[in-house]
């Protein structure tokens, strides 16, 4: 009981990482990328838009489902806009058209939800990255 | 030259003209006497002065027509109007029922204007007519407004100014509604027109001459 001192800390922009829930859209049929290929695709997207400097950005693929082609990516906060813009502007996977849908962006680890939960369905809501707005 | 001018007339000429030849002395006295007679108020010295000094331009000059300053039909100044309360409606006159006949008149006027206002009439034709029409007596409703408390005011337009409508409501309240940032709706025989007040900032008389331009969207 004696140790119950009250303490409050407010952390602004403190999150070291940002999380993105993304889904890759591919035309029906054809090969689906496995986890490593998926990561490679993300890096390719970064290299295309932001060059070698962008490709060196540490991006983690935390989960990846080959069936639904959806994944959770983790990126350091300073690289969020770069990653987001690179994913948005990616158009091809192995000479086939493809598109990344960014479903959710969260600054904190415990922040994300399964996409079907919160009140409005987030599917299809695609806020634009600030770098190009 | 002068000698020639003041020379005596030759006797043959004077005989012909039946004039009495005069000597210069005689002439002088005659002139004096004449002047004295015709200008009795002037003194001799003054006449003498005039004769020696004054140059008389021997030229015809037209008499300047003094322009008839047409007196402008002077109305009241704005101050006088305000003092006289010309455009104010007295409180006992602010009754909705009084103005209902005006509304009937206005309806008749619009029907005449739009050739009977048939249901199959072209909406844009009616709009074109309404744009130029007089709105005094129309029943309007504020449908949209930047200021929410104006929304829903309904009544007969009593006066239209450059920036405001004066509207009397069914509750016999006189409301002054600005045109700016308000949208009014106007219903007549099933035709509902919207007036975007922000584009309507004109006096009724000026509006009839103004050419309205088509715009894609109008924001309040």
């Amino acid at each position: 009981m004696a140790a119950a001192a009250f303490e409050r800390r407010v952390l602004r922009r403190a999150a070291e990482h940002h999380y993105l829930r993304v889904r890759l859209e591919l035309p029906d049929g054809g090969a689906r990328p496995n986890a490593a290929q998926f990561k490679q695709l993300v890096v390719t997207a970064l290299r295309e838009l932001h060059g070698e400097v962008g490709a060196a950005l540490p991006v983690d693929v935390l989960t990846y489902e080959e069936k639904t082609l959806s994944a959770i990516l983790r990126v350091i906060s300073s690289g969020l806009v770069k990653l987001w813009s690179a994913l948005t502007l990616l158009g091809f996977y192995q000479n086939r058209r493809c598109a990344f849908r960014v479903l959710q962006v969260k600054p904190c680890g415990a922040g994300w939800l399964p996409p079907d939960v919160s009140s409005g369905s987030k599917l299809g809501r695609l806020p634009k990255p600030t770098a190009f707005s | 030259m002068e000698g020639q001018l003041y020379r005596r007339l030759p006797p043959e000429d004077s005989g012909e003209l039946r004039l009495q030849p005069q000597g210069s002395e005689e002439a002088k006295t005659f002139v004096h006497a004449f002047l004295k007679r015709s200008m009795p108020k002037m003194k001799d010295e003054a006449i003498q002065e005039m004769l020696t000094r004054k140059a008389v331009v021997l030229e015809h000059y037209p008499k300047k027509k003094t322009k008839q300053k047409r007196k402008k039909t002077k109305g009241f100044t704005a101050k006088q109007r305000r003092e006289l309360r010309l455009f104010e409606i007295e409180p006992e006159q602010q009754r909705y029922a009084i103005f209902l006949p005006l509304h009937e008149l206005w309806k008749q006027y619009i029907r005449d204007l739009c050739h009977g206002l048939k249901p199959d009439a072209q909406p844009h034709m009616i709009q074109g007519k309404l744009l130029k029409a007089d709105l005094h007596g129309a029943i309007v409703t504020v449908t949209k407004s930047k200021c929410p408390s104006y929304v829903g005011i309904t009544g007969i337009i009593l006066q239209e100014f450059k920036h405001v409508f004066k509207i009397i409501t069914k509750e016999d309240k006189l409301k002054v509604v600005p045109k700016l940032n308000n949208v009014f709706s106007l219903e007549l025989d099933g035709f509902i027109s919207y007036i975007y007040g922000s584009k309507f900032l004109l006096r009724a008389s000026e509006r009839s001459a103004k050419k309205f331009k088509l715009k894609g969207t109008i924001d309040l």
């Binding site: 140790a3 009250f6 800390r9 990561k39 009140s119 806020p127 | 407004s145 929304v151």
Partner: protein, 362 residues
């Protein structure tokens, strides 16, 4: 456009508090109560295979919520509704599947305030006084209208009431699908089900999932140290991140040299043989969350192996309010959530996180 802006992430806040659950001035219950709309509650108990019966019954008792299809908003302003529900308990309502950044949204708070977040066009047509949204930029495109239903001036046939009714009924009939929940302590009067029977109403049960995680790496925490010390304990931020990974079934045994992911459990950590994870999804009212929190506190009344447990509550991303009546916006995530870490000695940590368009949590 400037390259400098590339490195800027959207604003977000994380507020961490530390106190004791039995402290007389502890504000944890107030924080829970102020956060009206929660869509997911999940708790994680390390070193626990089977849930105690008390907690289980609390979860089962979390209660139904209702979904009413296309309910006109003016139904919520009528005096029959106010007298039957708003004044006799806490009534929660939130428009369903409306997006706060593009649609009109309505919410009824338990203190009797009806909050409408409407776009500019609707606001101009509606004719109800409101205030511009704090997050709509230089040109205001969104307005917030707050109507206090329990206000003394809001009597039947009063001018205010008539105006609101007229605006919502005739001027601009707004309709939403509503999520409804009602909590009262006294005798059951008429229920929401019977009141809205003429509308399309359906009762929904919260979806509950249990899972037991095996061989989970858990960070070591010190209850009196929020910042954590290297080699001794983990900080709140690290815990928060780890929790996110656990809730989303991210594998934690990644090597830092892995190509796919370099995430691994924060140091120092211990491997827990089994941990119990329960997730409840639905329209969950704060009163039930307080009950659950109390049950979880009493979990430590008997000696347990676990040193701490966590309770995470997610708010609706599209609700017009987060805590109390502070405005909430979606901007790039719309997260508003809080997380309790309850220690064995009933010390607790409370972490509250909000996104870019939010006030600082209380």
């Amino acid at each position: 456009m400037l390259p400098a802006q590339l490195g800027r992430a959207p604003r977000h806040l994380l507020v961490c508090e530390r106190s004791h659950a039995r402290h007389p001035r502890s504000r944890h219950a107030a924080h829970v109560r102020d956060h009206a709309y929660s869509c997911r509650v999940s708790f994680l108990i390390p070193e626990c295979g089977v849930l105690p019966e008390v907690v289980k019954s609390t979860i089962a008792d979390i209660g139904d919520y209702y979904l009413v299809r296309s309910l006109p908003v003016h139904e919520l302003v009528t005096h029959e509704f106010i007298d039957a529900f708003v004044k006799k308990g806490s009534c929660y309502a939130l428009s369903y599947k409306t997006k706060i950044d593009q649609d009109n949204t309505a919410a009824l708070l338990p203190n009797g305030k009806l909050i409408l977040s409407v776009d500019k066009g609707t606001y101009e047509e509606l004719g109800l006084q409101g205030r511009p949204s704090r997050y709509s930029g230089k040109k205001v495109m969104r307005y917030i209208i707050t109507i206090d239903l329990t206000d003394a001036g809001f009597q039947p046939e009063s001018k205010k009431h008539n105006r609101v009714l007229w605006a919502l009924k005739e001027k601009k009939p707004l309709e939403f699908d509503f999520l409804l929940a009602w909590y009262n302590t006294g005798a059951e009067g008429s229920t929401l089900m019977s009141y809205f029977s003429k509308n399309q109403i359906q009762a929904l049960k919260p979806k509950i999932t249990f899972s037991t995680l095996r061989d989970l790496q858990c960070p070591v925490l010190q209850s009196n140290d929020l910042q954590g010390k290297p080699e001794e304990s983990c900080s709140t931020e690290e815990l928060f991140e780890w929790l996110g990974a656990v809730l989303n079934q991210v594998s934690l045994d990644n090597k830092s040299s892995s190509f796919l992911s370099t995430y691994c459990c924060p140091e120092p950590n211990t491997v827990v043989e089994k941990a119990f994870l329960c997730t409840i999804t639905g329209f969950i009212i704060p009163e039930k969350i307080i009950q659950l929190l109390e049950q979880l506190c009493s979990y430590f009344s008997e000696p347990k192996l676990a040193y701490w447990l966590t309770l995470t509550v997610h708010g609706f991303a599209d609700s017009p309010v987060s805590w109390r009546e502070s405005e909430h916006g979606f901007h790039k995530g719309g997260e508003n959530l809080y997380n309790f870490v309850i220690f064995r000695n009933l010390d607790y940590w409370l972490q509250m996180a909000v996104g870019a368009h939010d006030d600082c949590p209380p």
